[in-house]
Symmetry: C2
Amino acid sequence: MTSSIAGLTELEGAVLSEIHHRANRTAFQVQRAFQRSPSVEWSGSAGAVYPAIRRLIGAGLIAATPMAGGRKAQALEVTSAGIAALTAWACDPMRAAGVGLDPFRLRSGIWRTMPDAARRMALEAVAAEIRRDLAREGAVDTDPVERTRDELAMRLQRTRLDWIAEELASLA
Amino acid sequence: MTSSIAGLTELEGAVLSEIHHRANRTAFQVQRAFQRSPSVEWSGSAGAVYPAIRRLIGAGLIAATPMAGGRKAQALEVTSAGIAALTAWACDPMRAAGVGLDPFRLRSGIWRTMPDAARRMALEAVAAEIRRDLAREGAVDTDPVERTRDELAMRLQRTRLDWIAEELASLA
DNA sequence: CCGAACATGTAACCTGTTACATGATTAC
DNA sequence: GTAATCATGTAACAGGTTACATGTTCGG
């Protein structure tokens, strides 16, 4: 119980999950996973990932052991304390049920204030972008954890498309 | 065109919208609106709102005029440049279509890795919290912009509830 | 041998958070 | 008069972003 971290941040939880549930054992692999994932909002910048991992190691939630081979790489592993923290973070109902930062939702009210022509154009542009996103997401991820996240992202996008369709219909 | 702000942040856009589309004319009213709104993720802290307004004034997107009466209050108004910036911000398809920071989505994959009993408990706790949120949101907002946002928040929560129901059904 | 990918980090900067400070006005 | 609300701000801190620095290893 060396943990000095009371509640994990979203990034810290995501990092723990990345190491524990997915095959990412080095800090670099964790960072790259964030960079490649199109659905995650963070940039996966080194200036965020490496300090986060250092914090987690300091708190005893991650253990780092030098890897065999010439590479400087350190093999990361989530400790039992880390698993407990990760579970607590993932299962906190208050945080899980939060709406989060939803750029679409934030803008939705504003679109309704716009004149019909501009509104229609804006809605159709966003719908096109969402369809592009859905097509991209069609490439199935091999990892079950990420696949589940993609699945929910697609549901969210379909919900948005439905809403846009209703808005456009109300304009016609 | 004194604007030194290239792209508005989410908070800056929300502040402009708050002043322009809703009746909030002073910095204090804007701040309070953020604090009261249960759906917005930011805390509506003075340390965020006041500097944001100062930036927007500096960029010429907001005009501030002293209000009549003893109060120190300044009446804020979105300038024409501000309206243009707000519209551009609201209608940028890339940003509007983004998934955002979704705590539920981030955790969804992790829940699937949990043993059935714990998973069921976690899912039901989150579902209960979502239902509580939906009940709260039932209180209809008088403002059309905020009401639209609430409506979308409720859709999102219902989508989540559906997903949880399917997950629980697959466990049975 | 050379470029791409691996691997780890640091520094300056920006923005949001909490917590505090200050004072005026209004309702009771 | 005194408590609540209005109104504006600052300071210390936390955390993420970009951009840079550094060196290794592997494939062609």
